[in-house]
Each structure stands twice: as C-alpha cells, then as structure tokens.
Amino acid sequence: MAKVFKTARRVFAGRYESLNEIREFIAEAAQEAQFDSQSIYAMQLAVDEACCNIIDHAYGGEDRGWIDCQVDVRSDGLLVTLIDQGKSFDPEQVPPPQIGKPLKEVKPRGVGLYLIKKMVDKMEYHSVAGQGNVMRLFKRKR
C-alpha cells in the first residue's frame, strides 16, 4: 500500500483565470512527489484539461461553480482529485478525437479527455449524490 506523505486541498473559482493558479498548485505537489519536468508538465496539462471541461461542460460557462482540488503526494506518485457540482458526464460516451483526419475536417471534440487519459496512468470518474462529480487522476513516479 502506497504511503501518503502529504495531502493538500484548495477550492478554486470555476473560471479560466483560476487555471494558472491550479497548475501552480499541481506543479508544487508534483515537485514534492519528485516528478521530473516532463511528468510535471503532463500532470499540469491533464488537470488543466479536466478543469476546462468542468468549466465548459459541467458548469456550462465561467463563474457558475467551484472546483475542489485535492492533491495526495504518495510514495508511488501523485493523486489529484477534482470535485465539481455541475452536470455529470459519461467518459465512455465521449468520442475519441479524429486523429489522422485531413486538416480541413478536424474538429476539437474529445481532445481534452483524450489528452487527460494519455497524460496520466489512471483516470476515474464518478458522480455521487450529495457530493458531486469526482475525477481522480493518478500519475506514477518514473
């Protein structure tokens, strides 16, 4: 069982201006988890994409709710838990991005979720009545 060295939690306003602060919060935790620069960037990108999805899709726009962000610095890596109170979604129903399509046909749908899945080792998502939508992103220390 992995040991948890440190847990920190912050609540951010659901707006794009919060993204930089969120990424800094993640970078700090990733450094404590002894991630290399490539893994720090990967975790920042995954969390940024997840938070954008919360703002755009769960809340349907900026300033409509909060993003609760918890980081667990563990002996085996970093676990980030994001909670929102917006509309839930089924990750299985999001179509994969159109990789390989000609430029004029390519559309943005599905890229964010695809990036999240590629950047972390494990992604879990579930909706709990009374608690909200919970996304857990775990990346192993290399």
């Binding site: 993204l19 940024d48 943005p108 890229v111 950047m119």
Partner: protein, 111 residues
C-alpha cells in the same frame, strides 16, 4: 501573454510569450484574426517563450492554419516549440498539421 508582431515583406512574425490556455487563447486568436483579416496568411509563430499550451491553445493555431492554407494562400509555421509541448501535440496527432522549425531565420526564409 505578450505578443510582439513584426511585419515583413513576405510574411508576419509573431513572438509569443507566456502560457496559451483557455484564459489567454482568445488574446492570440484576436491578434491572428486581425492579421488574416488584413489579407496576410503567411505567418511564423516563435513559441520559444511559451511554456504551456492546452488544447484550447492548439485549436486557435489549427483554426488559423485552416484559414491560411485555404486556396494555398499561406501557412502557419511554428518555431522553437518546447519539447514537452511538442510531445503533447504529437500525442493527439496534431503535429502533422504544422511544420516546426528550430530557428526563426529558417522559417521566415522558407516563404
């Protein structure tokens, strides 16, 4: 985000500084629209001082690339893309939509 714009005879050079995410992508989008609306479609973007690009940022660049390449009137060339940014671009298969150069002179000279 800071954008320095230089207009050359054969192309436009934009030196971008900062992060390109959902908060800042509209700033770059507005600048690129201003240039393309002026009928200039040969663009070089120096990303040497850009340390983060999310998918929202890439979409601004891809939409501009679509606009520039229409009727073969131009192209968006990228220069000095940081390795971790380049990795994420390749991962989602968007790397093939851009020519990436290691120095500004080569990119500008290619037009």
């Amino acid at each position: 985000m800071e954008i320095k714009h230089s207009q050359f005879k054969r192309c436009d050079l934009l030196r971008v500084r900062g992060r390109l995410d959902s908060a800042t992508a509209p700033i770059l989008e507005e600048k690129l629209e201003e240039i393309t609306e002026a009928g200039r479609f040969r663009l070089v973007l120096d990303l040497n001082e850009v340390d983060f690009i999310s998918s929202k940022g890439w979409w601004v660049l891809i939409n501009t690339q679509k606009k520039c390449k229409r009727f073969n009137r131009g192209e968006v060339l990228l220069v000095n893309v940081q390795p971790q940014i380049r990795d994420s671009l390749e991962l989602v298969g968007m790397g093939k939509y851009f020519k990436i150069y290691d120095d500004v002179a080569s990119a500008v000279g290619s037009f």
